[in-house]
């Protein structure tokens, strides 16, 4: 009797054991296994689309990259309560600052996704041959953009070109990396992109047709020109800028103010856009600061509340910028329309009497106060946290001015003058082409500097311009910068770059600091 019990139990027990052990095999019901991916054309496209997503996170163009670029220039100063924002412009940000890590991570997220795409997309079955080339071209371009930004701001960063395989590859070294090596890689990636990318996406056959926000050949050419310009190779730079200008793909939009709008139809019809990070007025619940992305992400530009006096008001324009932009009047004797697009101030004689959609006085601002307007919601007072301005990474006016600079430095000041005037014409400024054509190089560069400020103020150019022009090593020029922006008073020569984040140095024993970590 007992035996039967025991045997019965044993049988039940063993049957139960097997059944139970099998039930421990549980695959993640929330996500597809990596092994099942990269199996068809849609997934090849998605692998590329994922790279673009990095453009809209905090570490890249949502906030930190523009903020890092703008705040170090002399166009604006910080009044932020946050040391990570005030310390940027004053060049005192400690290596332990958390935002450095955000900047660093943002770019490497983009690089990681580009590396995944470059590794897998060539082997995805059943992908249209032309499409596959276009996809790979975009991955090369985006990786180049990330490395260009990284080395421009951090000097010698680890050059990671493959998906890490196992723990040995998690700890890359930058000890033997020099900026030239990163420049060479960027150049190679851009050449790979140029040979694969289409001029535009308006008449293709494929799922990317009409998706104008994708990287184009013009974008890659422009970035390669910029890469040569930053290295002082003006001839090569001019060669690539010429290809952009002569492509016939681009022209300047009629109204400068239309470049900074949240209206997608106006944005789309801008013929001068070349490459940008696309932000939208989505009201989705999750912010796109970072973390694991989801369908609930917004795609908002956090630069807007950061710069807006109506929101965080972390930055304000310097008096230097304010005055520089009021210097030259239009042919109608008015302020440059670019002033009105860049700076918010009370200008009753020109019809600018409101802020955030209400009369100036209602906001409690003094009549002589001025604030940042570009990329803010100051025009209409819309919700800063659904800010949908597309952030220009490369635009045609910049290419024209960089082309002009390259030409002038290779002796062709006459053509350079015509390019400069082309940009001025949109702002309805007097025609001074002949005058500029007669300038010597130094005179021309002085004018060009002013023109770049007028056209590109608070678009992340100025800091990199003064740096590549050697102003930081020139005591006289440095004094000028100090006069423009008190934040330069605490500039020290090792701060041409931001420090490599201390936390990253802590995590990676193979990583060494740059000059700013000293």
């Amino acid at each position: 009797m007992i035996k039967i019990h025991k045997i019965l139990l044993l049988v039940l027990f063993l049957a139960g054991v097997n059944a139970c052990n099998d039930r421990l095999e549980i695959t993640d019901p929330n996500r597809l296994s990596s092994e099942q991916y990269y199996a068809n054309q849609d997934q090849a496209v998605a692998a590329i689309d994922a790279i673009y997503n990095a453009l809209i996170i905090d570490g890249m163009y949502q906030r930190i990259t523009p903020v890092y670029n703008d705040s170090r220039g002399d166009e604006m100063s910080s009044r932020s309560p946050w040391p990570f924002l005030t310390g940027l412009g004053t060049f005192t940000i400690p290596a332990t600052d958390g935002a450095l890590e955000i900047f660093w991570a943002g770019h490497y997220i983009m690089i990681s996704r580009a590396n995944q795409a470059l590794e897998h997309v060539p082997d995805v079955p059943d992908v249209d041959a032309g499409l596959r080339e276009r996809l790979l071209g975009q991955a090369y371009f985006l990786r180049a953009l990330a490395y260009f930004n990284l080395t421009s701001n951090l000097d010698n960063v680890p050059l990671i070109l493959e998906v890490p395989k196992g723990s040995e590859s998690f700890y890359p070294s930058n000890a033997n990396v020099r900026q030239e090596m990163i420049y060479e890689q960027v150049q190679s990636d851009l050449e790979n992109a140029i040979s694969r990318l289409p001029a535009n996406y308006t008449s293709l056959s494929g799922p990317d047709n009409g998706q104008v926000g994708r990287a184009t050949k013009g974008a890659a050419l422009s970035l390669l020109g910029k890469l040569y310009l930053y290295q002082g190779n003006y001839a090569k730079a001019a060669e690539y800028f010429a290809q952009v200008v002569n492509s016939g793909e681009y022209s300047l939009a009629t109204n400068y103010a239309d470049l900074f709008t949240q209206d997608p139809s106006v944005e789309r019809s801008n013929p001068g856009k070349i490459f940008w990070a696309e932000f939208t007025t989505s009201t989705n619940s999750d912010f796109n600061w970072g973390g694991d992305p989801s369908v609930n992400w917004r795609q908002f530009l956090a630069l807007t509340p950061t710069y807006s006096v109506g929101d965080f008001f972390d930055f304000y324009p310097t008096r230097f910028l304010y005055e520089e932009m009021r210097k030259e009047r239009t042919i109608d004797g008015k302020l440059d329309p670019r002033y009105h697009a860049t700076i918010l101030s009370y200008e009753p004689t020109e019809g600018y009497t409101t802020a955030y959609g209400v009369p100036w006085a209602n906001r409690g601002f003094a009549e002589d106060a001025f604030f940042i307007k570009k990329y803010t919601n100051a025009a209409d007072g819309s919700d800063a946290f659904t800010s949908g301005f597309n952030y220009h990474i490369i635009r045609y006016a910049d290419v024209l001015l960089m082309y002009a600079e390259s030409l002038a430095n290779t002796g062709n000041i006459a053509q350079a003058a015509s390019l400069v005037q082309q940009v001025r014409d949109r702002a309805t400024l007097p025609d001074r082409e002949t005058e500029f054509a007669g300038y010597n190089l130094q005179q021309f560069m002085t004018q060009l500097e002013h023109e770049r400020i007028m056209e590109l103020a608070i678009e992340g150019s100025r800091w990199h311009d003064v740096k590549r022009w050697g102003y930081l090593q020139n005591a006289g020029k440095l004094d000028e910068l100090k006069a423009h922006d008190f934040e330069f008073n605490t500039f020290t020569s090792n701060r041409e770059y931001i420090p490599i984040p201390q936390t990253e140095l802590d995590r990676n024993p193979n990583l060494v600091g740059n000059g700013a970590n000293q």
């Binding site: 296994s33 692998a47 994922a50 989801s294």
Partner: protein
């Protein structure tokens, strides 16, 4: 739950012969019946002439009289006391002292019980009777300070769930759980313990080592808290118990803050020190100068809370069955102005147990429902508040006094800062907490049934089936409001979600128990399988229009998340308990555990453990005073798998959005790197102990030494961000050791008619990191974890006084170009002439090194008094709250200590100057005075005075017993700390960082306990 009791002490009888009288025929006998323990007279005791129906009952004073035949045997009995028989000779007066029944302390050890004296492992029994003198929604809070080796830190919020650490921290906390396993009535809980009603608890045992915990081994590495709920007893008459209490809660502590003028003065001074103009609101020459607002935010933000609890239970039993029913209601209203935190709980428990020949079946069903308004950041939802806000409490204290609480001109009606006039990022906490409504409703059903069958003599089969179903509905509503600079909310938002989880457990065990001469053997073999399912569906709707209807259908824009978390555990276990002659004891456990969290080839692992004990008192002749002396020791291994699910599986995130101007596309990529070969973390426990009992249990004492090591610690390793992974790499890396001593005692002296019970406990935790894999250290907030030291030691710069003049600055290591007199001089520890990150050093212990508790009970006549206190020490606290109130630069309010700041006329101070933007970074992590405060504290947690109504009063009311009491909780805390709670809840990597916990309220309450 089967429970056995053994008689520990044999009958003791004291018969006093005072007078003798000789008589023929019937004898008339008088006497008094009293308790041998307390000498109290026993009212209503039975006196029976054995073999007849002749009997009597003692009166109120314990006196009786009875007439019997000479040579008769009298039996004296009273509930709860040992029956005593006395043969009548010729005495006329027989006074009897009845000995109370001392049940052998029986300990629930998992799949059975054991006599406490037969334990070989480290098991602490919590005195639930003392514990229940405290009012709390949560059982773990009530355990604080009562168990050696168990530290409990908590927050003062109603409905809060404390952190519980058994014998230190043995994980780096990155993704891995450190909380113990709770086993309620044999059921390893999948969810939190806070849903369990403390009034239902009969007993609590804490299993602290592998020998004792092995039986729940696959989740026992952080310790096991075994909770047994009340049940009816066989042959117990039907009884009804009612207990109720109600009290008020206040925030006893006020932080001394600046008022309007102080605030304006300091803010203006710091701007002036940087050559800047005052902000308009603080500038007497500005039209916007604020002169008529002076908000005391603590007055505005705190209110009196309340707590009340009513419990009614019914229990009883017949010869074959027993039952228990309990109904309970708890209502706790918090001390913060606004819509929470508060917590209400309704619960019901029903259990019964029936014997049918060789079969025993029973069930235990618990249902609870709670309605809670938690603080907005404690629920599953987040609400975007810019700037990474501290907790609401810190925001409340930091609020500028120049901002009004109410402002009708702003949307929502509450005041806020202006970007230009105040420039202060100040959250109006009472405003925010009133506007934003957060609610969580929990419905939980916890049911188990068991069947036990006697297969043969000593052989039993038991089947345990358990089901835990929890449904949680969360709702967060944020209306349109304008709380000023930084805090506008132009779009109303409603978040609604359902978290549904269930867990199913099946256990089959066979137990064989037999005695062979002097050999006593118990064998257990078993199998268990537990399955967990969790699904959260949550939606966010925005754009609701006024007047608001709180339904998602009223929103104009939606986002949805849907997450599933299935998991399963399978285990096979065996246990041998062997005892020789009640002198030598051996316990051996072996288990084989499998977890769905590891891939097939790494899924199962074996974990053995062994414990031995020597009952010296049964082996050697010991002095008479020593009634019990036991030496025991144990060694064992346990597995730990407390990480997230699917961490070994590489997946693709296919929801990576972007727009190319033609609508949204979704990209796909691997966003998180994984280590496919993760496996069980192993916890090795070692301990030796002495248990002693002196003078028949008047003094009990346990001393224990433990040394535990965890190996292959599961950690979300922070790999370099250059890998592009959006989370740490979950992997096995590192090793942590915890060692220490635990002392606990219980002394029950009698002073006259006062009976005292004094129960102190003390324990130490020495935490040491032995290995952290490829890392040199792990950073926490102001803390660092490195091999050779404890987890999360404070880390930063060393304070070296205040610069008094430029010459001192020039003579010191370079700190900053704008360092000026009044700034802090830090130590250049590497002597490179510059203060950099490399000058940081370890500044002290973040986690306490010792803990203690003391419970005093005095019973005098009908009064009982309890004083309970507990504390810890040996650590320093890095107070986010205090530092947030002492900024060098800022627009938020200050602690009064800022008035001692350095100025050219106040140079003899350790508080640096105030200056905009803090160029010298005086605010940095350092040991500057105030930054690391002594964490030592002793809190008088409970004073409770009770009065038991005399029987004379009760008999008319048909009550069996009645007690009324007054209790004050959180009476006073002796501490140097300037924050609220020295025993705050903190992150594992920065155990000494008080981010800003909710103040623990002081509770004053009246209660009554009646049994019918």
């Amino acid at each position: 739950m089967k429970e056995r009791s053994y008689l520990k002490h044999s009958l003791v009888c004291l018969v006093l012969l005072l007078t003798a009288s000789l008589s023929y025929g019937q004898l008339s006998i008088r006497g008094k019946i009293s308790s041998a323990d307390t000498s109290e007279p026993l009212t209503g005791a039975n006196i029976l002439e054995v073999g007849t129906s002749n009997g009597a009952v003692s009166d109120l004073d314990g006196n009786y009289s009875i007439t019997v035949a000479p040579g008769a045997v009298l039996a004296f009995s009273y509930i709860g006391f040992n029956r005593q028989e006395i043969t009548v000779s010729d005495q006329a007066e027989i006074n009897v002292l009845l000995q109370p029944i001392v049940l052998d302390e029986v300990v629930v050890v998992g799949y059975g019980t054991q006599r406490k004296e037969d334990l070989t492992g480290a098991v602490s029994v919590v005195n639930t009777k003392e514990m229940s003198k405290q009012a709390s929604n949560d059982v773990t809070q009530m355990m604080q300070g009562r168990v050696a080796g168990v530290s409990i830190t908590s927050d003062g919020q109603p409905g809060a769930t404390p952190s519980v650490r058994v014998r230190g921290v043995s994980t780096f906390g990155l993704g891995a759980g450190a909380e113990p396993l709770y086993v309620v009535d044999g059921f390893p809980l999948a969810g939190g313990i806070r849903d369990i009603n403390p009034n239902d608890i009969e007993s609590i045992q804490v299993l602290k080592d592998a020998t004792s915990g092995a039986i729940y081994g696959n989740r026992a590495a952080n310790g096991v808290v075994i909770i047994t709920t009340k049940s009816g007893k066989r042959l117990e008459k039907f009884s009804v118990s009612l207990s109720a209490y109600a009290g008020i809660q206040t925030v006893p502590q006020r932080i001394t803050l600046l008022d309007r003028t102080g605030y304006q003065q300091i803010n203006t001074e710091l701007l002036a020190n940087a050559g800047q103009n005052p902000v308009p609101g603080n500038d007497p020459s500005s039209p916007d100068y604020i002169r008529n607002i002076d908000t005391d935010w603590q007055d505005a933000g705190y209110k009196d809370g309340s707590i009340q609890n009513y419990n009614l239970n019914f229990s009883g039993g017949s010869a074959k069955t027993s039952y228990f029913i309990s109904l309970d209601y708890l209502d706790n209203v918090g001390t913060l102005v606004g819509s929470g935190p508060d917590y209400k709980r309704y619960s019901l428990r029903v259990n019964s147990d029936t014997e049918l020949g060789r079969l025993r079946i029973g069930e235990n069903v618990y249902f609870m429902r709670s309605d809670e308004n938690p603080l907005f950041y404690t629920g599953p939802f987040t609400l975007f508040l810019p700037g990474g806000r501290p907790t609401l409490v810190n925001d409340l204290l930091q609020a500028a006094p120049t901002i009004p609480v109410y402002d009708e001109s702003r949307e929502g009606g509450f005041g806020g800062a202006d970007a230009v006039v105040h420039q202060s990022i100040t959250l109006n906490v009472p405003g925010f907490n009133s506007l934003v409504q957060n609610s969580t409703q929990v419905n939980r059903l916890l049911a188990n049934v068991f069947g036990e069958l006697d297969l043969a003599k000593g052989l039993k089969y038991k089947l345990n089936l358990q089901y835990d179903n929890t449904d949680i509905t969360d709702q967060l509503f944020a209306p349109q409001y304008d709380l000023g600079y930084f805090f506008p909310r132009p779009v109303a938002e409603l978040q609604v979600g359902d978290r549904s989880s269930n867990s199913f457990l099946i256990e089959n065990t066979l137990t064989y128990k037999n005695t062979f001469g002097k050999h006593d053997l118990t064998l257990l073999a078993g199998q268990s399988f537990q399955e967990f399912n969790f699904r959260q569906v949550a939606a966010v709707g925005s754009g609701l229009e006024k007047p608001y209807i709180l339904t998602l259908s009223s929103a104009s824009n939606f986002s949805v998340v849907d997450i599933q978390q299935p998991a399963a555990l399978a285990s096979y276990l065996g246990r041998v308990n062997y005892s020789f002659d009640d002198r030598y004891l051996l316990t051996f456990n072996i288990r084989n555990d499998g977890s769905s969290r590891f891939r097939a080839e790494d899924r199962f692992a074996f974990f053995p453990s062994v414990g031995v004990a020597w009952k010296v008192h049964n082996d050697l002749d010991l002095p008479q005073a020593v009634s019990e002396l036991k030496l025991r020791g144990g060694y064992g291994q346990l597995g730990n798998q407390e990480i997230g699910n699917f961490r070994y599986q590489s997946t693709i995130n296919r929801s990576i959005p972007y727009e190319f101007g033609t609508g949204r596309v979704l990209g796909g990529a691997t966003t998180i790197l994984v280590d496919p070969a993760i496996t069980w973390e192993t916890r090795i426990t070692r301990n030796v102990a002495v248990d002693a009992s002196l003078w028949s249990g008047k003094l009990e004492f346990t001393a224990e030494y433990y040394s535990n090591t965890s190996e292959d610690v599961l950690i979300d390793l922070p790999i370099p961000l250059s890998n592009g992974s959006l989370a740490g790499l979950t992997t096995n890396a590192g090793s942590i050791k915890n060692s220490g001593i635990e002392l606990s005692a219980n002394w029950r002296p009698r002073i006259g008619s006062m009976l005292l019970s004094i129960s102190p406990n003390f324990y130490t935790v020495k935490n040491e990191v032995l290995d952290i894999g490829p890392l040199e250290f792990i950073s926490g907030a102001g803390a660092r974890t490195e091999v050779g030291g404890a987890v999360g030691r404070h880390f930063g710069w060393v304070y070296d006084g205040i610069f008094q003049n430029q010459a001192e600055i020039d003579g010191a290591a370079f700190q900053n170009a704008n360092t000026r007199p009044g700034d802090i001089r830090f130590v250049d520890s590497n002597n490179d002439g510059e203060i950099t990150e490399a000058d940081r050093q370890y500044l002290g212990q973040g986690m306490p090194t010792y803990y203690f508790g003391l419970n005093l009970v005095a019973n005098f006549k009908n009064f009982d008094l309890t004083i309970f206190g507990q504390g810890s020490g040996g650590n320093l606290i890095n107070s986010n709250l205090y530092r947030g109130l002492m900024p060098t630069s800022g627009y938020t309010n200050w602690h009064e200590d800022i008035l001692q700041r350095w100025t050219p006329s106040n140079t003899n101070t350790d508080v640096p100057r105030v200056v905009w933007n803090d160029p010298n970074n005086n605010q940095r992590d350092s040991d500057r005075p105030g930054w690391l405060q002594k964490g030592d504290y002793f809190r008088i947690q409970t004073i409770s005075l009770g009065y038991t109504l005399p029987a004379t009063l009760l008999s008319g009311l048909k009550m069996e017993s009645a007690r009324i009491y007054f209790t004050m909780q959180n009476v006073y805390t002796f501490m140097a700390y300037k924050g609220y709670n020295p025993d705050f809840q903190a992150g594992i990597l920065n155990p000494g960082f008080d981010f800003g916990t909710f103040p623990r309220p002081r509770t004053s309450m009246l209660g009554v306990q009646i049994k019918f």
